[in-house]
């Protein structure tokens, strides 16, 4: 068990290293950093001086090594726009994104799991059919368009909820959070709903499929035959065995929520990382782009690692060495 864990960690390390090569080559070879980094109004001598300062005249492998060296120190260079270290700029925005993603995940679980359970237990009821059709819509509706429609309905037509920004924030553990104030909460609701839409459908369908599979199992029939109460069968025999795929999805999708918050944040002017990366791409703020991409790589590789470990804890049959 320990050796396989170590092997997984080493593998994760290799993946991150490979991604640094890809990101580095992508930004430095395919895109021309000279064009991006240097003011086109400069004359030739000044250009050369800047190129030398940035080390762009050195061989590629040396540049890569110094890039790696910067990475280990968390140094991606200064943002061109904010004139601060790129990583700091991103980390400042991190709580807002985390808050949004967490809220969306809670909504998705609270809505998706019970509805999926219901639709799976009583598949022939009309209400189940309505739920399932609704979930197809949830999959098909383009997130950004739903966001616009939410703004249109709740912010413009009804005027109930604000459509832009984070609202009032309160400090907790030295970080600003929106969900601690009423104003912040009202700002949070629309974006979180928007972000949750897709995941709700996903969890719903997954739960339903799981229920329908589990319900056919002998141990459920046996539990029924024993005369256990229906509630106990649902909670213990069905729900517990559902949790493995559902927990996996929740873990995996949390990362994707952070990625998809790019869209939601752009629509609702939520000042998180996603909005930052879009702004940075539009302004060609290269250090921030690189820092964001590397952060995402590390995030997703670690998430996968954690899910792998959780698997073994949840299901003793899945030992890591099973798959090599």
């Amino acid at each position: 068990m320990v050796t396989t864990l170590i092997r997984r960690i080493i593998q994760a390390g290799f993946v991150i290293l490979a991604m640094t090569v890809i990101v580095f080559l992508g930004v430095n070879v395919i895109g021309n950093p000279v064009d991006i980094l240097i003011n086109p109004d400069l004359n030739q001598a000044e250009r050369l001086r800047v190129i030398e300062n940035l080390g762009l005249d050195r061989p590629l492998w040396q540049q890569y090594l110094s890039f790696l060296h910067g990475l280990t120190e968390g140094n991606f260079g200064n943002s061109f726009v904010y004139s601060k270290p790129a990583l700091d700029v991103i980390l400042e925005r991190l709580p807002a994104t985390l808050e949004l993603a967490l809220c969306a995940m809670v909504i998705a679980i609270v809505v998706g799991l019970p509805l999926g359970l219901y639709a799976g237990l009583y598949p022939n009821r009309v209400s189940s059919r309505v739920i399932m059709t609704g979930s197809i819509l949830g999959f098909s509706l383009p997130t950004f368009w739903v966001g616009l429609m939410l703004i249109l309905l709740f912010a413009v037509q009804l005027g109930w909820l604000p459509s832009n920004g984070r609202g009032e924030t309160a400090m907790l553990f030295g970080v600003r959070w929106s969900f601690l104030t009423w104003d912040g909460l009202s700002h949070l609701l629309l974006p979180a709903l928007n972000l949750a839409l897709f995941k709700t459908s996903l969890i719903l369908r997954l739960t339903r499929a799981g229920v329908q599979e589990v319900i056919m199992q002998d141990y459920v029939k046996f539990a029924r035959a024993k005369g256990l109460r229906e509630n106990r069968i649902i909670l213990v025999h069905i729900l517990k065995n559902l949790m493995i795929p559902v927990v996996t999805i929740i873990g995996l999708e949390f990362g994707s929520l952070i990625a998809f918050s790019i869209v939601t944040e752009s629509i609702f002017g939520w000042p998180g990382m996603g909005k930052l990366i879009i702004d940075s791409i539009n302004l060609l703020d290269r250090p921030v782009i690189v820092a964001y991409l590397m952060m995402m790589v590390v995030l997703f590789v670690s998430l996968n690692f954690i899910i792998d470990v959780c698997y073994t804890l949840l299901d003793p049959r899945v030992r890591l060495d099973g798959k090599g």
Binding site: V15, V23, G26, V27, I30, G31, I136, L137, F139, S140, L141, P142, T143, F144, W145, L148, M149, I151, L152, A155, V156, Q157, S163, L252, G255, S256, A259, F260, I262, V263, S266, I267, I277, I278, I281, N282, I289, L293, M296, F300, V301, L303, N304
Partner: protein, 310 residues
């Protein structure tokens, strides 16, 4: 002699293989359309395709032809008429373009990008997946690690990565979608091929010393196609959605040939002043397109899945 023919007619081979094609297709079609959702999806898809293909002939206006635009007609609500009496069924946008015509032309861009990228991704992914399954060993291991890695990243992040490096534009969007989606095909193709590989007809082909490439293409591929077709259908819808999202974020197609996503994005700035139709109707068109494709894909999966066969 008589009795021999009779037994042949009853054997399973005769039942499925020997009948003329038209007799095999009709029941299949009837089976396919026995679900009302599939019928709705197909009708929607036909309408969408028809509109996209014949847009220049059926659209009331060419939204890219500046001669036909009148700035006086800008931001008219749905159902208004232009000065010269041309009706704007779905209203006009900030430049006085007819929304309906914009949607018809936008559908073209969206569909071309979606279909082209899904097709290319299918080609690349399927090839790699089949090769992995057929070759096995190290190649397979390496490729599947790559697929796992790729699939652990959300599509939008992969697409963003590509666009952050390469810059905007239609070709780059297509490229980004291919990068984001090839792995799905590779995994499906490999999964199916692994099952098929063990079957006797592949052994038979190998024993006949048919060259590997031919076994792959003529024996393995046709038998792995069903799930790949299903995935491809769904992926077209996803590609269209992804393209729209990227365009909305300002990373997508060019301004001169706006896709549906770009049209929606154009209406964003007018939304807060209550001019809903500029964003609303292109979104509905996008929704109809995606839902139709998904409904058809869903039905295809049910029909093509041997477990669900009657």
């Amino acid at each position: 002699m008589e009795s021999k023919i009779a037994t042949e007619a009853e054997s399973p081979i005769a039942r499925t293989g020997q009948r003329p094609i038209s007799r095999r297709i009709w029941p299949a079609l009837r089976h396919f359309f026995s679900s009302p959702a599939a019928l709705v999806g197909c009708i929607g898809l036909v309408v969408v395709l028809f509109t996209a293909i014949f847009a220049p002939w059926i659209a009331p206006q060419n939204p890219y032809d500046l001669q036909q635009l009148d700035i006086m007609d800008s931001r008219l609500p749905p159902g208004s008429e232009s000065f010269s009496g041309v009706p704007y069924l779905l209203g006009t946008d900030g430049q006085g373009r007819d929304i309906l015509s914009g949607i018809m032309y936008g559908l073209r861009t969206s569909l071309i990008v979606g279909i082209a990228s899904a097709f290319a991704a299918a080609l690349i992914g399927t090839t790699l997946g089949l090769m992995a399954a057929y070759l096995g060993g190290r190649t397979e291991n390496f490729m599947m690690r790559l697929v796992d890695l790729q699939l652990s990243f959300p599509t939008i992040l992969m697409a963003l990565m590509v666009l952050a490096i390469l810059g905007n534009g239609v070709t780059n969007v297509v490229l980004a979608i291919i990068v984001a989606e090839w792995a799905t095909y590779a995994r499906t193709a490999r999964g199916t091929a692994l099952v098929e590989r063990e079957k006797e007809y592949i052994d038979a082909a190998r024993c006949l010393r048919i060259p590997g490439r031919r076994v792959l293409l003529r024996h393995l591929l046709p038998n792995c196609l069903a799930p790949i077709i299903v995935i491809a259908t769904m992926q077209v819808a996803r590609a269209i959605g992804l393209e729209a999202t990227l365009s909305f974020l300002g990373l997508g197609a060019s301004v001169t040939q706006p896709s549906l996503g770009m049209l929606i994005s154009n209406g964003y700035q007018y939304l807060l002043s209550g001019l809903y139709w500029i964003s609303f109707y292109p979104g509905i068109a996008l929704l109809i397109t995606i839902v139709s494709i998904n409904l058809v894909g869903d039905r295809l999966r049910d029909v093509l899945n041997p477990r669900n066969a009657r």
